[in-house]
């Protein structure tokens, strides 16, 4: 059976001593955590280890001996080290020895209790203690199993990572400390004494408390009864800006909560939200400074009214074209004129309202532009809402056209059933046969003919306005997609993967080092980082993302029947 010894690379030049670590019997591997140097008192060592075991809940014990002989003497050292095996009884007792500056160490085991002691192969695996301690293995075990020690040894690698990570307290003793026990393991080179970082850490607690208080005030105001009256609540639900602001408020509440993050996932989520908010606000302020420099927002407001006028004129031209003979099709003259005039009057009303509002537009836009400092996503939401408001008349036309068309289609289908002597049974929700009187049949036939011959005209108006509406919906959808991207991208995780890739580990990789015959196999264990795709997938922030509600077939069916379509559904919206 092959014995695997995981040796920290920082202990390669340590003085002779005994090896301290964890023995994984079911995998026949030993994870060495530190080397305890001579001289030591065995009782004290055992006491220290049992204390460490109590605190970290990792089964740390003395595993073997390590001898680093610079000179070629010390033959009696080997006997001494073997005798140590009897004091700290561990099965098997591992003896690693290094001669001079040789890279190739010899490793042997002493088995006292084995029935037939055989020469087993030893594999020496070097690992970087600091990196393994700081890294997190993905996919992470869920909290239910991490408390159960047997369950998290299921995978060999997770057992090793878990061992090193939990033994952090063992690594806290400094090499300059004067204690009864002298250890060699990974040492941190001193905490970075950056004053700013320390000040920020001290200031973060009261800042969090202040933020929580402010947020509770704001959410209290939002929930007040005044804003719940019908017109206002309808308005809030329709404007996407309010949803985005609510979403960001939620994020702020997550960050400013005073509870420390329990698991790695929670910590990463908090960090991602914080960085995302920061970048969002920074981009928003950048946008704002660009808009307000050289009074660009004034220019924007000035071009808004002519743009709206231009759109209205184009619509008028379109209606004139429909009222004539569009694309060579022959329309029913009377209905054409009625519909065309109705829509033209609607446009005329709309233009009047726009002109009424025009002196106030610049001021409104100026103040609304200030809210871009809340974030780029808020600015995009406002843009989307402005587009929705400006194209409100297109939406109205679409609704009129769709309703008319829908009525016509339902009328036609019902009268078609009348032809065949059938009727829709509302009670049973099915088609039943029915015997009609002669006058019913006569009127039904008349109406059917009228509706049928008026169908092309209505259908054409419906088609044109549906296309316009779909165009507006697509533009709005694109803006929302961009906003979603900014909202949900885990920037902190991506930066971490870029700069400190060992923190996010997908696994390990082994490199075979130089070998020498007769010596154990030497491997170097390095951390294999997660790929960027899996980082984004794992740490994506949840958003109220809007995605297409209907599949293509149901969308086409709705379009054909003239039902109103609202292609983007927001998560959390009630189904109608």
């Amino acid at each position: 059976m092959v014995l695997k010894v995981f040796f920290p690379s920082c202990c390669s030049s340590a003085e002779s001593g005994i090896l301290v670590g964890r023995w994984l019997s079911e995998q026949n591997s030993a994870v060495i955590l530190a080397v305890v140097h001579f001289p030591f008192i065995p009782v004290q060592v055992k006491q220290y280890l049992s204390e460490v075991q109590r605190v970290t809940k990792v089964n740390v014990s003395v595993l073997g001996s390590w001898s680093n002989s610079k000179q070629e003497k010390e033959e009696n050292l080997s006997k001494f080290l073997e005798d140590l095996g009897t004091i700290f009884s561990h099965e098997p007792w591992i003896q690693i020895s290094k001669e001079g500056d040789s890279k190739f160490w010899s490793c042997s085991t002493l088995q006292k209790l084995a029935n037939n002691p055989k020469e087993e192969e030893v594999i020496l695996i070097y690992y970087d203690q600091r990196k393994v301690m700081l890294s997190h293995l993905h996919p992470p075990l869920d909290t239910a199993t991490s408390t159960d020690h047997e369950a998290d040894d299921a995978s060999k690698l997770s057992a090793i990572f878990h061992t090193v990570a939990k033994s952090k307290i063992l690594f806290m003793t400094d090499r300059y400390d004067d204690g009864p026990i002298k250890l060699t393991h990974w040492q941190s080179d001193g905490v970075e004494a950056s004053i700013i970082v320390e000040l920020m850490k001290q200031a973060s607690v009261p800042a969090c408390m202040l933020l929580t208080f402010l947020l509770s005030l704001v959410s209290g105001i939002c929930r007040s009864r005044v804003l719940k009256f019908w017109p206002l609540s309808f308005l809030w639900s329709k404007l996407s800006t309010c949803e985005q602001l609510g979403h960001r408020l939620q994020h702020l509440q997550v960050i400013s909560s005073s509870k420390k993050a329990q698991t790695q996932t929670q910590l990463m989520r908090k960090a991602n939200i914080f960085v995302s908010l920061l970048i969002d606000v920074a981009l928003g302020i950048l946008l704002m400074s660009w808009l307000y420099r050289k009074n660009r927002i004034g220019h924007l407001a000035d071009t808004l009214i002519p743009a709206a006028d231009h759109v209205a004129e184009e619509l008028q031209d379109l209606l004139q074209w429909l009222m004539g003979a569009p694309a060579g099709l022959k329309m029913n003259r009377a209905l054409d004129q009625v519909l065309g005039r109705f829509f033209l009057y609607h446009i005329h009303l709309w233009i009047s309202y726009i002109h009424l509002m025009s002196p106030f537009i610049e001021m409104i836009l100026w103040y609304v532009g200030l809210s871009a400092c809340l974030g780029l996503t808020v600015a995009l939401c406002i843009l989307s809402d402005i587009i929705a408001l400006l194209t409100f008349h297109i939406y109205c036309f679409y609704v009129y056209g769709a309703r008319l068309y829908c009525l016509k289609i339902y009328g036609l289908s019902s009268l078609w059933r009348l032809f065949r002597g059938k009727k829709w049974n509302v009670l049973r929700q099915r088609v039943d046969s029915c015997s009609y009187d002669l006058d019913q049949l006569f009127i039904g036939t008349l109406l059917f003919t009228i509706l049928l011959f008026l169908l092309p005209t209505t259908a054409l108006y419906y088609l044109v306005f549906t296309l316009l509406r779909l165009l507006v919906v697509i533009v709005q959808g694109l803006i929302h997609l961009l906003m979603d991207l900014i909202d949900s991208l885990p920037l902190y995780s991506i930066l971490l993967r870029l700069c400190r890739s060992y923190r996010l580990a997908a696994g390990v990789k082994f490199r075979v080092l130089e070998q020498q015959d007769g010596k154990p196999l030497r491997l170097l264990m390095q951390i294999n980082p997660l790929s960027y795709g899996s980082v984004v997938q794992m740490y994506r922030l949840p958003t109220y993302s809007c995605y297409p509600k209907d599949s293509w077939t149901s969308l086409c069916k709705k379009l054909f029947l003239g039902e109103l379509i609202y292609p983007w559904k927001h998560k959390g919206e009630k189904q109608d």
Partner: protein
Amino acid sequence: MRQALRASLSPPRPRPLPHGCGNPADCPRLRSALRPGRAASRTANPRPAEPAGPAEAAPPARLEWARGSGPPRQPFPGPEACAGAVPSSQAGRSRRFRRGGMEERRYRSASGAPIALRTRQHSASCRELAVRCPRLQLRSLSAVTSAVWLAAYGLFVLSQNSMVLSAAIFITLIGLIIYLHFVKIDQESLLVIGSLGIQVTASYASGKESTTFIEMGRVKDVVINEAIHMQKVIYYLCILLQDPGDPQGVSEVVPLFQSSKPRLDCLIEVYRSCQEILQQRKTAPQSNGIK
């Protein structure tokens, strides 16, 4: 049907095939090839008339068979008959170079390009098998570049916009960098460490290496499987991963050597090497990982 497929795919050979090859598991030729101890001879050239090549280092069995009478002795006709791929005149000839603890042999890939298999034994339970893919050819690179630049020049002549030319240069450079970094695989290697696991590495032409390590507890077996790829039937080596819930089940199949696609002779070598190490864990008294 399989026999008909193979007969139709392979060109007429001077020797009749005694029987078609079916499942590698019940192909007697394959089984005899996979029998341990006869490593060297099976990959030699099937034609008996040809000299044995670098026969100085070859074991005696190979020479004897090479000079043998041919069909009545039922020599191993080589993997091409089994694979059904289009063989070339030098198909199956392997040259062995022994250097230190390392062995290198030349083979062919499924599409006929020359590849090399390098075996290295680090210790009794650790072995590294690397397949080197054919390098980027200068002539294909220059062909693509000149095609793109000619097209750009044609557009320039039509539109008189010099941005087209600089855009073409840019596109060629970016495309080449992307190809070398993300697409062109230089070498695929397999590091089998008994009782630890199997590591699969793909190194790209730009130096990037993508590695996956599979622990031994998750590995059920390493097998050669066959698949229909485009218009051919090819063999590929894959690792079967154990299903944690069901000890007899297979949860995932990890195919190996996807871009070099070696032929059956190379795969048999790799298979035999892997199985020697995997056998050790079955004979070990204790088992690793979860069961």
